[in-house]
Symmetry: C3
């Protein structure tokens, strides 16, 4: 399997996981199948859409609707078979696939921003974060849930670290960008997987408590 | 009266209804006249604005500010005379005018996306929905209200059905697009009117309950 | 010191104040340093970003990242030394610097819209308001706080008045645009400073109470 192909399959698996974890996140609040599908699609494509609007380029899904079809199908499946997807081993698997998707999408985004020579060196990191968490933020706001930014989950911080490293690698080792990208995807994934596995959170001294 | 003219008057009436129902929705939460006007304008033009940003075309109101003037006037009127507009028969009338506006705006949006050859066949349906409910979603988020997506009101589902039918008609009967558009506007309106009249909601088996 | 230079320094001071008041607003809800920095940056650049997306022009910070660097630094400082910045005299100073920033950003925005000949005469006022309060609205929505629109704080109304006057001056005295702009910046600042100093709010008869 070639790299581009592997890339594509991880993207699709990540899209599935984004949509499924989204639906499982909102069903406890009471939602119908239409709302679940809309929120699943928004979670899957929202971050990349905001990134593309800020970059001033066509939204990424306009030319390849498979992202939306896959998110739609996964959302409906997650709604219809929520008991199945809530089973501990399957939900856990989804979290790791979600982590793989986040890692890949963030580094893809950083590279896209870099190639457009847009707001270097900060924008690739910022828009990598936006791509990774933007859809989930919009979902939580629309669903009336507390957003990720107000929790201490280690979700966006691995993305920030990975994108920062990637920008450094692109600056100093531009000839190794493909390998550098892979290393950073793996780094984000491992940090995120560690956070899932050991339920890591931002330590007390880097957070304020609700007063 | 010609079709284009009828179109224009329904658009303006729909804009009035969007703004008035928006102001009536937020006044119980406590709001001043400035906040009411801003939320009324956002409800009236927010969905179409998001659609145009995603399409990468100039926002529709930049060349015809009458949408904003009308929304502003209607919002201030609704704020000043909220007792009048809350009267059962007038509020009820506003709901049906709102339904007419939603129907027209959704099909106009779907046609705009189709004509731009943007993300066919899914995007005309998605952006028809965005146009119809986007402004109301932004209003509810800014006002701290539960959004439409978390209720089981039959509001967006008629839009989805009408836009889907419209895309099918455009694909298979491209020579009858004007008639097809009218049929779909009427279909959405009738479904929505039925939902208002009989207080229809999404049935239990298509929804999860708040746990 | 030249006008352009003064302009730049007020912009930077305003950016600092936006970020610091943002962080102080969200820390009581419980947030980690990453969330605080993201919310500080969003508050500082969010309004201008939404304005530029609606205008269809490149976002203002892509070519001058100093806005983001300054917002990032100020956010981290406010998080790390929140006790210092919460001290009455310093917090009070920040409110006035915030007011200066709001005044300048709003009139800069109105002039940008005017120069693009975009949706005159309403859009310069609307987008002046969006620029001034948009970032704060996004912050409050993401942080789960009540937004400015639902309070009766005199924050956006001075901006509206100043931008309206500016549009009138541009229309009737186009040769005095620089002086006119300064007058309007000062007007907004004085109105906002009066609101801060005397804790002015929108009067009862222009607001509904929470029912």
């Amino acid at each position: 399997m070639e790299w581009a192909e592997l890339n594509y399959w991880i993207s699709m698996a990540g899209t599935v996981a984004f949509a499924i974890t989204a639906v499982l996140a909102v069903t406890p609040k009471g939602v119908d199948i239409f709302g679940a599908a809309v929120l699943g699609i928004i979670t899957a494509i929202g971050g990349g859409t905001v990134r593309d609007l800020i970059l001033g380029v066509p939204v990424f899904w306009a030319d390849d609707l498979s992202y939306i079809w896959v998110a739609l199908g996964a959302s409906v499946a997650a709604f219809a078979a929520s008991a199945l997807f809530k089973r501990k081993e399957i939900y856990s698997l989804m979290l790791y696939v979600d982590a793989a998707g986040v890692s890949l999408f963030a580094i893809q985004a950083a590279r896209k921003v870099w190639d457009l020579d847009f707001g270097l060196p900060l924008a690739p990191i910022l828009l990598g974060i936006v791509t990774a968490i933007g859809g989930g933020l919009i979902r939580d706001v629309l669903a009336g849930r507390q957003t990720l930014l107000m929790t201490r989950e280690l979700y966006a911080i691995p993305v920030m670290l990975g994108c920062t490293l990637f920008v450094i690698l692109l600056e100093f080792f531009p000839m190794h960008r493909t390998v550098g990208g892979m290393v950073c995807v793996v780094l984000i994934f491992l940090l995120r997987a560690a956070a899932i596995h050991w339920k890591l959170a931002v330590p007390d001294w880097l957070a304020t408590s609700r007063s």
